[in-house]
């Protein structure tokens, strides 16, 4: 299965600023997925990123707040814009499902605290 390198692993940011999270996959994948995990909650899908087209956002998430780039088949970024304390969460990227028996893999997560 693929390995995803995600960075930063954690950050503490001031409200009103933006943070860009990067995910690098060690093999080409068609779809990448971005999730948010608020404290004590399960994972919620933010958007699906397909190379060469605009990301598809889930209800409650908008491109102005969470712009996503997918410049090639191995890389994606998620930006959390104009942050507020409510954005404090773990953000995870994911890919996979097409490797014949290994399922989906996840980056190690970005723990974001907004103060």
């Amino acid at each position: 299965s693929a390995v995803i390198s995600q960075k930063p692993s954690r950050d503490i940011c001031q409200r009103g600023t933006s943070l860009t999270i990067q995910c690098q996959v060690d093999s080409q994948v068609t779809m990448m997925f971005w999730y948010r995990q608020q404290p004590g909650q399960s994972l919620t899908l933010i958007a699906t990123a397909n190379q060469g087209s605009e990301a598809t956002y889930e209800s409650g998430f908008v491109i102005d707040k969470f712009p996503i780039s997918r410049p090639n088949l191995t890389f994606s970024t998620l930006t959390v814009s104009n942050m507020s304390p409510e954005d404090s969460s773990i953000y995870l990227c994911s890919a996979g499902g097409g490797w014949g028996g290994y399922g989906y893999t996840f980056g190690s997560g970005t723990r974001l605290t907004v103060v």
Partner: protein
């Protein structure tokens, strides 16, 4: 959309005890995975198990796809087993995102 329900939501075990976690899903799925999220937030893939039974050390999992449920067994639990266990399913391998249950929070006490 598909619904994924996990039970119990919380579980406290004495070290050495055994436990069974359950995952029910509302529709046919292409894939089912069990994850363990450690205290640092990392999701560790335990099993990829769309059907059948698999074992890995003290952990084993069984999925009965026709009855739409999966079970995760933890035997001889250790404090390092503590964390949240998630069940997740997908409908179209690689092209659709995993849908997660709400998780089972396991605390193993010495």
């Amino acid at each position: 959309g598909i619904q994924v329900e996990q039970s119990p939501p919380d579980l406290i075990l004495q070290e050495g005890a055994n436990s069974t976690l359950r995952c029910n899903f509302s529709d046919s799925v292409n894939n089912l995975q069990w994850f363990h999220q450690n205290p640092w937030g990392q999701l560790i893939n335990l099993f990829y198990i769309p059907s059948g039974t698999k074992q890995n050390g003290r952990l084993s999992a069984t999925t009965v796809a026709t009855e739409r449920y999966s079970l995760l067994y933890i035997s001889s639990s250790q404090t390092t087993d503590s964390g949240v266990y998630f069940c997740a399913v997908d409908l179209d391998s690689g092209n659709t995102p995993l849908v997660f249950g709400k998780g089972t929070r396991l605390s193993v006490i010495a």
